[in-house]
């Protein structure tokens, strides 16, 4: 088990360094720079600016400086937001994005998993069919369709909920964005839970338990639920990446002051350090969640611990 965990952690560090290196060079090698504006600046001014931000050094030196800064927890100064450190920008936006994303993930799993299990137990009956229609719809509706439509219907037409805004995450402000972000994750987790349980219920050891006369409820609770969750658990890593991506759209649609906008805005402005900061933070979150899902899988399924 220790070897398994250790190998995974080494893999995580390798993936992270690959991500940082690739992102750094792709961003730098792209045309344009942070000081390209409509108003042309004097060559001396530009040279001074570039020297001040360390852009005049060779690219490999800059890379080494950036990485050594990162290791000390320093994301560097933003190029566009004057006199502001990237860590300050991210520090203001990330708590908002994190609470939005965590709320959506929890809502999706709390509703999706029981829904999927119920559908599996009611196989080919009304609830099962209704679930499959509902999940198909939720998967087909991307956040940038669902968000504006919910905001239009419940915000602008019915006036039940605010159409946009965040207001420090008050409950009524949060309902529509969280639902928008949760919908596809809910649908996928319901599907995975359903197929997971159906597969387990068809296996030999469940048939053996039934043959011995155990009741269905007892079998499901004691023997089927844990293995039925396995496909869902191995999907959790990608699910987090999915939520992070979705939050970019949801934050735009509902005007939420999260960190999502920094990625697009930073890339458009060639704000190198800001984009890199976003990629590092979101990359670490994704990779850590993958690791957690991996370890949880090993805990739920003792067979994989051998490897």
């Amino acid at each position: 088990m220790m070897r398994h965990v250790l190998a995974r952690i080494i893999g995580l560090i390798a993936s992270l360094s690959l991500l940082v290196t690739a992102a750094f060079f792709v961003i730098r090698l792209a045309p344009g720079g942070p000081f390209d504006e409509e108003r042309t600046i004097l060559p001396q001014v530009r040279a001074n600016l570039e020297a001040a931000y360390g852009l005049d050094a060779p690219l490999t030196t800059q890379y080494a400086r950036y990485v050594s800064g990162l290791l000390r927890g320093d994301f560097g100064p933003s190029f566009k937001h004057k006199d502001v450190q990237v860590s300050e920008l991210l520090g203001a936006g990330l708590p908002v994005s994190a609470s939005l994303g965590a709320a959506a993930l929890v809502l999706a799993l709390l509703c999706g998993v029981p829904l999927g299990f119920c559908a599996a137990l009611q196989r080919a009956r009304v609830l099962d069919h209704a679930t499959s229609v509902l999940t198909a719809l939720m998967i087909a509706l991307p956040a940038f369709v669902l968000g504006p439509v919910l905001s239009l219907v419940f915000g602008l037409r019915l006036h039940w909920l605010p159409a946009a805004g965040w207001n420090d995450g008050s409950l009524e402000q949060a309902v529509l964005p969280v639902v928008t972000l949760a919908a596809p994750v809910l649908a996928y987790s319901a599907r995975l839970a359903r197929t997971g349980l159906l597969e387990v219920l068809g296996s030999d050891y469940i048939r053996a338990a039934r043959a011995r006369g155990l009741g269905l409820r007892r079998i499901v609770v004691a023997h089927a639920l844990r293995p039925a969750l396995l496909p869902l658990v191995s999907w959790l890593g990608p699910a987090v990446a999915f939520v992070l991506t979705g939050s970019l759209v949801v934050e735009t649609v509902f005007g939420i002051p999260g960190a999502g906008r920094f990625l697009v805005e930073g890339a458009l402005n060639r704000d190198y350090t800001l984009v890199m900061g976003m990629i590092v933070v979101y990359g670490v979150i994704t990779l850590l969640c993958n690791l957690a899902a991996d370890l949880a899988y090993g805990w739920l399924d003792p067979r994989v611990r051998r490897y």
Binding site: A14, V26, A30, L137, A140, P148, A267, Y282, T286
Partner: protein
């Protein structure tokens, strides 16, 4: 083999009523999108400020209404639908081709090459890949459809590669492959003549599921303003425009949003149906 795929789709898919309905809906959408220039007298780009912001109506000159600049919403939505369909299908084709080549090679070669190739897939799978796509789409010439295609297609091949690799690994042990090898058939030819036709079923099913993903990625980028640029429009950029004006002119949002939903829904349901029919692992 191609014949047997057609035959099993022909006999089994009609029993899958949802998938059949989805196939019909998809065909209707494609037909309307292609025939739209003949169905409406208005060109998607014609600006008519006198008619700006007129609401939709059955007897109206513009039956899906017009936008802020008086452009016909039906003509523009159909143009967006054509762009989204084109990008979706081409990107799906490219990414499935990459995935098939990668997976078949890894599965057939086996051993260390297989392990390292699939390790790469695992690593890429774990990365927040969409961020990379966003960066690519932002940093290079914006609105360049080719860059957009490359960026989107680079995400879609991982799942296909995994599926094809698994299938190839199983096929490699079979007698007919061994016989071909014993007769001295070159590897490339074995892959092309014997492996590919046998993985075609699941690949077709998953390719159908890749198309809506690609369409969604493209629309996602266009929604963020990083994709298709004016005067060209895709469903994503139309939805983004419509969302800005939805308070006064909700039809600008609802027309492209409805089309995109119908499109992705029909492709997803059709793909699920094809998978039930063609993928041996999901066959009950």
């Amino acid at each position: 083999m191609a014949g047997s795929i057609l035959a099993s789709v022909g006999t089994e898919l009609p029993r899958h009523r949802a998938a059949l309905a989805a196939a019909v809906l998809l065909a209707v959408l494609c037909l309307i999108a292609l025939a739209a220039p003949a169905l409406t007298p208005h060109a998607p780009g014609t600006i008519d400020l006198a008619q700006a912001g007129s609401p939709p109506g059955l007897g109206a000159a513009h039956w899906w209404g017009t936008d802020r600049l008086g452009r016909d919403v039906f003509a523009r939505t159909m143009q967006g639908l054509r762009v989204s369909l084109l990008i979706g299908f081409v990107a799906a084709f490219v990414s499935v081709a990459i995935g098939v080549a990668w997976g078949a090679l890894a599965g057939y070669a086996g051993g260390r090459l297989d392990a390292s190739m699939m390790r790469i897939v695992d690593i890429l799978y774990a990365l927040p890949f969409v961020f990379f796509v966003i960066i690519l789409a932002t940093l290079f010439e914006r609105g360049d459809v080719l860059v957009l295609l490359a960026a989107i297609a680079s995400v879609g091949w991982l799942t296909t590669a995994r599926i094809v690799r698994g299938q190839t690994l199983a096929l490699r042990q079979r007698e007919f492959i061994e016989a071909a090898r014993a007769l001295g058939m070159p590897t490339a030819q074995i892959l092309w003549r014997h492996i590919l036709p046998n993985v075609a079923g699941p690949v077709i099913a998953y390719a159908t599921l890749t198309v809506p993903q690609m369409i969604l990625y493209e629309s996602f980028l266009s929604f963020l303003g990083l994709g298709v640029q004016e005067p060209l429009a895709s469903l994503g950029s139309l939805i983004s425009e419509g969302a800005r004006d939805m308070e006064t002119a909700s039809w600008l949002l609802l027309a492209p949003a409805g089309c995109l939903t119908a499109l992705t829904l029909s492709l997803n349901v059709l793909g699920d149906g094809l998978r039930d029919v063609l993928d041996p692992r999901t066959r009950s």
